[in-house]
Symmetry: C2
DNA sequence: TTGCCACTTCAAGCCGGCTTGAGGTCAAGC
DNA sequence: GCTTGACCTCAAGCCGGCTTGAAGTGGCAA
């Protein structure tokens, strides 16, 4: 049991050391001790980082993810999963409308976009709130 | 020509006055003068706000939108529209993978998620970066 | 034993898109 | 003419997810 230290985990996982420390601070992961100053981790850290990446990709916040991560393996409420899936469905629907609108508008030969019926249609959709701005988590940098 | 003032625009468009001021500061819109202290706007303001909403929904930043808004009607590079449509395609693809994964995981009867092959599959996808975290614009509040 | 250097901590900064708060000003109604 | 109250400006704050910078510390090699 030569536990991986923080730099090794960073290198293998691609997650920066600063982020690992941040995750630890937030309670998403925990180190099992130190070798000198350096944190060491259990080797299941990689799986945990995967779960975190997964949760992020699904649109959960770090706090939500932290709440789902229990000491011995993740215990995830299946209801929350379906809920998130439904949210994604809605998002996918909206993005699809947007995408089709954009494609049409870019292909359309009307002299200006405001004269393109399709463009005006998606414009009305945006105005009336039928498609929403991202309202997503923020990027790090 | 009784130009709409800021509160009227806010009421009709649903965009808060503070946001309108912010948009003006950013150069996305411009008022045509004042009535007392109150800004007044040309009546094409609503169309412009629609375009802004549309751009936001498509994933453009306010700065990008500002760059596309020219004095006399929007002048939008069709290339950028296709580009954005392609980005949306990719995003939709990823979200669809996520959604299917989530649905399967929530329905799956494996005793714990880590023993569910489907869950492990999307976990690997997230780990390997094949599906990415949102990295989207931040929400206002 | 001394120097190096990668790690550490802690606080602060950054991004985008706004909102909020303090303190000022103007037009309209009494 | 004086109050009212909605607007104004300007600066600062907020959200999430990190990164960055200054200053400290430990282990290891020479």
């Amino acid at each position: 049991m030569n536990y991986p230290d923080i730099s090794e985990v960073a290198k293998l996982s691609g997650v920066p050391a600063s982020t690992l420390r941040y995750y630890e601070e937030k309670g998403l992961i925990s180190s099992n001790g130190r070798r000198g100053l350096k944190r060491t981790f259990d080797s299941d850290i990689y799986e945990k980082l995967g779960l975190i990446a997964l949760g992020r990709a699904a649109g959960f916040t770090l706090d939500e993810i932290a709440a789902m991560m229990s000491p011995d393996g993740p215990r995830i409420d299946r209801g929350r999963l379906t809920e998130k899936a439904d949210e994604l469905d809605e998002k996918i629907r909206q993005l699809t409308v947007m995408r089709d609108g954009l494609r049409h508008a870019s292909a359309c030969r009307a002299p200006s976009h405001m004269e393109c019926p399709s463009f005006r249609r998606i414009l009305r959709a945006a105005t009336s709130g039928r498609i929403a701005p991202p309202a997503n988590p923020a990027p790090g940098k």
